[in-house]
């Protein structure tokens, strides 16, 4: 039997060739992306870096940088049961969360294993927006069973999102005419007229520095970008790619999904998922809440104390401990864990990392076995690791209201 193969014309599969869809800012970001270095995030183009990842990173610490967060998945929860449904799904108190505030949250299986993390924006008494890095609609639908006065809509493509991060971010927004933005407290939401409608600005971010996230109608996206870059020129504005954000978030002590942890619904092997306690998220487990999904399991785990710890580590030397195995001794006889993220931190001037360490060993000595290259020749070194309890980078300006110089 003859086989006929019908090929699509090239223009019909242009997006497949790139593997990516354009975000509402693509007309602007694509012009700035000098080497067309894109990664794929939820089907959308996300710049790996625009020009130089280090320069971009430094803008988050010294001036300000803009990250296109539009590929983030966004969901609207509305209805009389919305607060109760979310309250039961996540670990923090959603019922008590004030309108126009944001809260970082995590949601777990019955066994208290992390499904995913994200931020909940309370937009009204009965309206919320939930943002997370990966799609989670299926879990939200499962979580909605038994709550009737509730509507869950994916609004990812109805909302364009930019993160504006860095010490000059507040001054820039003020200069753009967002009067009173300096009064916006961390995790608070403010709204301003913009373009054809409204822009929502939350004092949130993924860099640990002073910063804001801007949420708006995609039709107004290009106008916002242009204003940011024209007014922002004297504020040292830079576009941020994935690489610079990755450095900043590690310094800030934030977790990256699929890097520091795998969602429980995506792991196959036992113990390859995580509890929030293991990930250092005990501070967002509100056990005063009579119930949330996984509460009983997490309470038992907390009481047992017998769980791995994702530790912040300061590692001697300057060779990032990427992909390292951790040991309890310098001879590397007793393996006790592994590194999930590692980098040389330019702002802290330290060799920093997260390491997941077995319950029995997290208080004892920790050594990282690091492999690095010198002119292509592999070198091995075993470096002492010191536990750090605070985020590596947490400047005062990130918390101050109004921020300095505003």
């Amino acid at each position: 039997m003859p086989v006929t193969v019908k090929l699509q014309p090239a223009e019909a599969i242009a997006h497949v060739q790139r593997s990516i869809l354009p975000t509402p800012f693509y007309s602007r970001t694509s012009r700035l992306n000098l080497n067309q270095q894109w990664s794929e995030w939820n089907g959308f183009a996300s710049a790996v870096y625009y020009g130089d990842a280090h320069l971009e990173y430094f803008s988050t610490r010294n001036t300000c940088g803009v990250f296109d967060a539009s590929p983030m998945r966004k969901y609207r929860f509305s209805g009389a049961d919305a607060a109760a449904m979310l309250d039961r799904m996540v670990t923090r108190d959603v019922v008590a969360q004030a309108v126009d505030t944001v809260a970082y949250n995590v949601w777990c299986t019955d066994a208290g294993r992390v499904v995913d993390d994200g931020t909940i924006f309370r937009l009204g008494t009965e309206e919320f927006m939930l943002c997370c890095a990966d799609p989670c609609y299926d879990w939200f639908c499962l979580s909605a069973v038994g709550f009737d006065a509730l509507k869950i809509e994916e609004i990812s493509e109805e909302v364009a999102a930019l993160a504006l991060q860095g010490p000059t971010s507040c001054a820039l927004l003020k200069a753009m005419g967002f009067a009173g933005i300096e009064q916006c407290k961390p995790f608070q939401i403010m709204r301003f007229p913009f373009g054809g409608g409204e822009i929502m600005i939350s004092r949130t971010g993924y860099t640990g520095d002073l910063g804001y996230e801007l949420w708006l109608d995609p039709r107004d996206a290009e106008q916002l970008w242009d204003q940011l870059f024209s007014v922002g020129a004297i504020y040292g504005i830079q576009p941020l790619g994935d690489e610079s954000l990755e450095m900043a978030r590690l310094e800030a002590g934030f977790l990256a999904p699929d890097v520091d942890f795998h969602g429980s619904l995506h792991t196959v092997q036992r113990g390859h998922d995580h509890s929030p306690l293991e990930l250092g998220l005990g501070w967002i487990l509100n056990f005063k809440k009579p119930h949330f999904s996984g509460r009983a399991a997490l309470l038992a785990q907390r009481e047992s104390g017998n769980y791995r710890r994702l530790l912040k580590l300061d590692i001697e030397g300057n060779k990032p401990a990427e992909h390292s195995i951790l040991y309890a001794d310098k001879k590397c006889a007793k393996e006790i864990g592994y590194i999930t993220s590692a980098a040389w931190s330019p702002v802290v001037k330290a060799n920093i990392a997260y390491g997941l360490v077995e319950a029995k060993y997290f208080e004892g000595p920790i050594w990282a076995e690091i492999y690095h290259q010198k002119e292509l020749r592999w070198q091995r070194k075993v470096a002492r690791c010191t536990r750090v309890t605070k985020p590596f980078w947490s400047p005062e300006r990130a918390k101050a209201t109004p921020p300095p110089d505003c």
Binding site: D87, T109, G146, A296
Partner: protein, 512 residues
């Protein structure tokens, strides 16, 4: 809030009453809250036409001696109208086969021999699993000694069947009824009659795998008599005796008291709120309602973990059986049957049952419907005026989710039922003084059972033992402290048996 009880039991169906009686007997202060005006649930004997009475559940194959003895039910008014009804596989033109406790009558020699072999094997299997009907199911991975012991005993009981029979049980356990019956028998109506008991009540038919043998063994769990017993006064005679026994031990039973919700404080069930707004506190709340009603309507998903909630939500609870009650002005004539004194099965062959199921699978119903027919008034003159009779029939398949809703289909389903009955009992229509057809929608509405499902959830291997209603709630405790299940949705399941109620009572007593 008043605090009159140690334990509140929501629902005065037979399991709720059994649970109440055992707890009260052990000295607990028990309050039973029943929504209806009388106790008994699907077992209650109700007057469906002036002078004519019947219960939805009409026979007692699973009732055990221990329950009757423990609760001294004889002293509280329980007696039998018949102790060993035969099952008669009717053939439309006569030539019926009668199935008694000891063997077959009217069957071919080959079938009689095969039945003896079959019965011997099934009795052996039934004995092996019998202790587990009356025991708390194990919880896998609990690390508990008792769970390990139960599992160990289960394994031991299977092993001591002997290698051949153990292998045979493993092979047979998930077989469709049709394959099993075809292996043993040749008579089509005999096979249909035996297959009937394997599937009735669940959304399953002779060709469905997953439940046949376990359902047949479950049905063999009763040991009250050597055969199929009928309670005097209808099944309500039993439930009334259970209520009397519970009351005699000090349980308080309040009828006409619908519970609107369970009150949860700090993650613990602490009381109930009645439909009228009255709050009653108790440290332990036990639900005789089905799992979906218990967890969704009474408790609320917000008190439960997400995956657990979804397991409850996924329970298959669409009832498939309609109940027909006919008031007859005299005894009907069944072709070739001297007196319709047994349990009559009206299905010429297994395919006939399957055809009715096929229609129901897609939200319809067949023109010709198989059914199980009983004339309880032949054995109990309290059920009908002198010389007149009650016909009580379980008719399959009547899908809960019939397309267009039951209001649009009740008359036509009744017509089909009557026509199917006429094939065996010509002229029966002329004897009908009054009739009542209870579709699954009616059973749901009148008895508060989700989907009108008899068993409070399919009786099938995936919803059996440690998976009934689901792991996390299969030991009568639920994930919410202070809240328990005692209904047919818990192990061992439906049928008028009371084991869920007595097992739950034991689990609650052991906690103290």
């Amino acid at each position: 809030m008043s605090n009159p009880a140690d334990v509140i039991i929501i629902g005065g169906g037979h399991n709720g009453l059994v649970c109440a009686a055992y707890l009260a007997k052990a000295g607990r202060k028990v309050l039973v809250l029943e929504a209806a005006s009388g106790v008994g649930g699907l077992g209650a004997t109700r007057e469906f036409a002036p002078g004519f009475r019947a219960a939805v559940a009409h026979t007692l194959p699973q009732l055990g001696r221990q329950l009757v003895k423990d609760l001294d039910l004889g002293r509280h008014g329980f007696s039998l109208a018949a102790d060993a009804l035969p099952t008669i596989a009717l053939a439309p033109a006569g030539g019926h086969i009668t199935i008694t406790a000891d063997g077959l009558e009217g069957a071919s020699p080959a079938d009689s021999t095969a039945y003896a072999t079959y019965l011997k094997l099934m009795k052996k299997f039934a004995r092996a699993i019998d202790p587990f009907w009356h025991k708390r199911p194990p919880m896998l991975g609990s690390g508990g000694l008792r769970d390990a012991a139960t599992l160990g005993q289960f394994g031991w009981n299977l092993r001591t069947l002997g290698k051949t029979d153990m292998r045979e049980m493993m092979r047979m356990i998930a077989l469709p009824a049709r394959d099993l019956m075809d292996e043993y028998f040749e008579s089509p109506p005999l096979k249909a009659a035996l297959a009937w008991d394997a599937n009735i009540g669940s959304k399953l038919a002779p060709r469905s795998p997953n439940n046949a043998v376990i359902a047949l063994l479950y049905r063999m769990s009763g040991d009250l008599t050597g055969g199929l017993p009928l309670a005097r006064g209808g099944t309500g005679g039993l439930t009334d005796a259970l209520a009397a026994a519970a009351a005699a031990h000090g349980a308080q039973i309040r009828t006409g008291s619908a519970v609107a919700r369970i009150v949860v404080e700090q993650g613990r069930a602490v009381g109930v709120e009645l439909a009228g707004g009255e709050l009653i506190r108790a440290p332990k709340i036990v639900s005789n309602a089905d799992p979906k009603t218990s967890f969704f309507k009474l408790l609320g998903a917000r008190h439960l973990d997400i995956q657990f909630t979804n397991r409850i939500n996924r329970l298959r609870m669409n009832g498939q059986v309609a109940k027909l009650h006919l008031a007859l002005d005299g005894l009907p004539d069944f072709t070739g049957l001297a007196e319709p004194g047994g349990r009559l099965l009206l299905a010429p062959d297994m395919q006939f049952i399957e055809n009715a199921f096929d229609a129901a699978k897609y939200g319809g119903y067949a023109r010709e419907l198989p059914m199980e027919v009983l004339l309880p008034s032949l054995h109990d003159d309290s059920l009908a005026p002198a010389g007149q009779h009650v016909l009580s029939a379980q008719v399959q398949y009547a899908p809960y989710n019939v397309q267009g809703g039951w209001d649009a289909h009740r008359d036509s389903f009744l017509d089909n039922t009557m026509a199917s009955l006429e094939r065996y009992a010509p002229g029966i229509r002329d004897r009908v003084v009054a009739s009542e057809l209870l579709t699954p929608a009616d059973l749901e509405q009148q008895f508060g059972v989700t989907g009108g499902h008899w068993h409070h959830g399919e009786f099938a291997l995936d919803n059996w033992w440690m998976n009934r209603p689901t792991y996390g709630a299969s030991q009568y405790r639920t994930p919410v402290p202070g809240f328990y299940l005692c209904g047919a949705g818990a192990h061992p399941g439906g049928g008028i048996m009371g084991a869920a109620g007595s097992n739950a009572a034991r689990a609650i007593l052991e906690e103290n």
